[in-house]
Every structure is written in C-alpha cells, then in structure tokens.
Amino acid sequence: MTSPEILDLDNQLSHLALTAQRHPPLSQERQVALRQLVTGILRSRRLCRPQLGQFAGNYQDIYDEALQELLLFICQNIDRYDPDRGTVMAWVNMLFDRRFFREAIPKVLGKQNLTRMTLMDLDRISAPAAEPTLTDTIQEFVERDPDNHLKQEHIKNHPTANFQVLLQRRLQGISWQDIANEFGIAIPTLSSFYYRRLDKFSTQFKDYCVD
C-alpha cells in the first residue's frame, strides 16, 4: 500500500515537473519549479542506491558524482518527463540506475589520488609541495621587476604606493586596512588601482610563470 506522504510527494513533484514544462526556459516560473523539484528529489529519501555494496570506499563519491549529473540532466531535459509513463521519482531512479551511475564509475575511479578535504583538514594542512609553487614564481617576478614596470605604476601623487609594493604586501597576506594606514590612502582607491593594474599585467605574469 502506498502511504499518503508518498502520494503527496509524488503529486507535488509531478506538479512541479509539469509547471516547469509549461513555461519557457529561463522564465521565472520554470526556474522556481526546477529549484523546488531538485530540492524535493534530494529530500525524498526515495533515490535508489545502484550497485550498493560495490566499489568499497569509492561508492559515495561515485554516487554523488552521478547524482549531480543526474540533477543537471533533469533540469535541462525536464520536457522529456512524461507523466503517463510513471512518477517523477520512477523516471529519476531509472535514469540514475541505468545511465548516470554507470557513467560516473569510470569518471571517479579514473581520478588519481582523489582527496576530499574537510574544513578541519584544511586547517591542519601545512604548505603543499616542496618544489617551487606558482606563488613563489610570481613573488620572484615581483621582487625582480625586471623592467621596472611594476615600480613605475603608482597611485597619483603617491610615488611610494606603487604596484610592486602593493603586490608584495598583498602576496604576504597584509590586510588592506594595514596598507591603507601605512600610506594614508583610502582602501577603495588602493584596491581599485590594484585591480586595474593586475588586469593590465596579468598576461605578462602568466607568460613569465609558464616559461
């Protein structure tokens, strides 16, 4: 026997799917319906678990990867849902089992050294790799400033507040407030100057770092 809650959810999801179908892509009605549909599917507790018991420690990664792709597919292909052929959950689980889980297996198993950090891992972790990182290369370039281009760019009437100095401070992690205090210049003036100059030099930096 089907419980009233399940019937209720089926009706609700079906209503959302049909609402989305009735409105054109990018319309607000369709977007709201799709958002609620995805939330409803995730909270339904009725998603199947294909090939449970296999893939040991990789199962959850495969499952999440597949679910992500599945939800995106549903949003982009909601017009393919046919209420005459079954409930939304039946359609979703069929796609999950027969297509998206299978496709996710090689995707996840094929990844080298898959690491999933938690916030605590990130707090604990120290500096990566002993070899020079990209930041080191940028830092070195900023220090050398081979053609003095970085030094020459400075905030109007403040020759000491030049782009090289600002980059050095920011790469060391010094706050905008401290830099503002040091030079007696307001943060928006400093940060917008910094942004524009970074925009100007970013290609040059990249070329240097890649070579």
Binding site: E65, Q68, L72, R170, P188
Partner: protein
C-alpha cells in the same frame, strides 16, 4: 513537503574537490591555499546551480580559474555569459556575515553567499547582494535566489525604466557611479575636456586641494522643444569619502552642475535641476535666472547601492537621469 525555501543545496562532488585540490596545490602559504580551495568549491556550487537554471556560464575564462589572479587576490568570480562576473563568496559554517575582498569591489555584477558545512560535502546557496564597497555584508540582508536570477537575466546596466515626462520622454539606464571610480564610464558620459573645454569660469571641484580620486564627467543633454533647440551639459563630479571611525562603509560625495554648451555664455532662464529619490520624492531643486553661467545642486553624499535621480526641466521638456552609487 515544504519546498518553498529560498535557498538551494548543492552536493560538492569528487570533481569539485579535485578541482579545488588542483588549484590549492599551486599556492604555498597555508591561508592562501585554504582560501583557494574554499573559493573553488563556492564557484563550482554556483556554477552548478546556474546551469540547472539554464544560464550559460564560463568558468575557464574567470579570474578564479587563473593562478595569477588566485595568488594576487581573494577571488571567486564566475563569468556569466552576456552579463559579467559574479563573485561567489564561501561562508564558513557559523558565520553570519559575508566577507567581500576590496580587490573584488570593481567589475562585479553581484556577490553570492555560499554557505559551507564542516565536512564540505554540501554547499548551500543563500542569496546575493549587488552592494559593493563593503567588506562585510550581513547574511540576513541578502536578496533571494529568485531575485538573483532576474538580476542576472536583466541587461548589464541595471533595469531600464520608462520615464513619464512631457515632451521629451526617453528610456535611460541607471548610471553606476561606483564604477566610475574604477574608470568604467558609459560612453555618453564624457570627460570635461572632451565635452566642454576650453570653457571659462568652469569650476567643478569638490575640494580646495586637488584630489586624485575625483572623477568628473559630463553629458550633453538636448532639451529641444519643437524648433527651439537648446543643449546643455550635465556635469557630475564624484569623490570617494573616507570611512568614518563609526563605520567601514565608504561613500561618495557628489556635485552636480549644469553648464551652457556650444559657445553660449549663459544658460537659458528658468531651467530647473532637481534631485529626487528613487521613489520620486524631491530632495532639492535649483532654477536658473537670467544670465546664469551655470547652476548647481548643493553637494550631497551617498553610500554604494543608493539610488537617486537628477531631473532637468525646461518649459515642457524634461529629462531624467538615473544613478546608483
């Protein structure tokens, strides 16, 4: 089941973590490496959400994808096709505010809050703000995800409002003054040199000492009534104001003037300039007399996100220019 909640939960899949780890490895400082990891997860969550909603995004051309920008800025932008950069700010589990790095105050069409949880298995997209120029934004003041989609699907320079004026009615876009400070100025707003100089008696200075940060722009306004052509220049000068001890909020001081153009020495008489709130309340008004060289509003101040309108009226002709700070 109540599905009407205003947020959206995204799974942070193995692919998202792998991308984050790959970017993290490029940076030595632990804090920077952590920042890059979390920023990457936030961008991937927003990218997924917007793709579900049918919007076109391009992460690989975003600054957050580029190691140089990652190193030099606290950056988490996502390029939204036909719209611009949307900044995706990661929010730590217990946080009640969104932090926005000053180096990302320019060139952004909004800031989306993406709340993370300790295991980093899911991210919740909470809402967004267009407010720029603040480092800390309270989560309770975020605008909804529905509004975000509307905002991202509207034309780049804010909404276009029809103006109900008499003879000269026209459509105008709200001009964003904060963007002027980043040197992003609409083509119709020209430098004073281009539009007016040399012009005697022109003094558009907000402070007695020259201030490097002042931006001055002018726009030609055509107040034609049938055969009687009359053109004037609307001048706007802005300068960022320093944050006060009480607030980190930076604002802008604004001076508005109207000058004659085309070699004329005087403005037409009875030309009225008015300052209005977004809702149409008049804050101040000045009217030209016979032989006025120029007229100006009392200088005023505002903070990013505030709207105001300037209306020029001459006889039956009336033109309204809309601004957002």
């Amino acid at each position: 089941m109540d599905l009407s909640m205003e947020y959206f939960v995204v799974l942070l899949s193995a692919s998202a973590h792998q991308q984050a780890e790959q970017f993290r490895q490029r940076h030595r400082q632990p804090l920077k490496a952590q920042q890059v990891y979390l920023n990457t997860l936030a961008v991937s969550a927003v990218e997924f959400y917007l793709q579900c909603m049918g919007l076109k995004t391009n992460w690989s051309v975003s600054q957050s994808y580029d190691p140089v920008w990652q190193a030099a800025m606290d950056v988490a932008d996502l390029w939204i096709c036909d719209r611009g950069r949307l900044e995706c700010r990661p929010i730590l589990p217990e946080a009640t505010v969104m932090t926005i790095a000053p180096e990302t105050w320019s060139d952004r069409c909004g800031y989306v809050a993406v709340q993370l949880e300790p295991s980093l298995q899911t991210a919740t997209i909470l809402g967004f703000t267009e407010t720029t120029g603040v480092e800390i934004f309270p989560l309770e003041k975020l605008r909804s995800l529905d509004e975000l989609l509307i905002h991202l699907q509207s034309p780049p320079t804010a909404a276009i409002h029809p103006v109900s004026t008499t003879v000269t009615s026209q459509f105008t876009q709200r001009i964003c003054l904060s963007q002027w400070l980043q040197n992003r100025v609409e083509a119709s707003w020209q430098t004073l040199e281009t539009l007016l100089f040399p012009q005697p008696g022109l003094s558009l200075s907000l402070r007695t000492e020259a201030d490097a940060a002042t931006v001055k722009r002018a726009k030609l306004i055509d107040l034609s009534i049938q055969l009687d052509r009359q053109t004037v220049a609307l001048l706007v000068a802005i300068v960022p104001t320093k944050p006060s001890p009480a607030s980190t909020q930076t604002g802008i001081e604004i001076l508005v003037q109207v000058h004659p153009t085309g070699g004329a020495n005087f403005l037409p008489a009875d030309l009225v300039i008015g300052l209005y709130t977004e809702t149409g309340d008049r804050l101040q008004e000045v009217q030209s007399r016979m032989q006025d060289n120029y007229i100006q509003l009392r200088r005023f101040r505002g903070v990013p996100g505030e709207h105001f309108d300037i209306q020029l009226t001459w006889g039956e002709a009336s033109i309204r220019e809309k601004f957002v700070i």
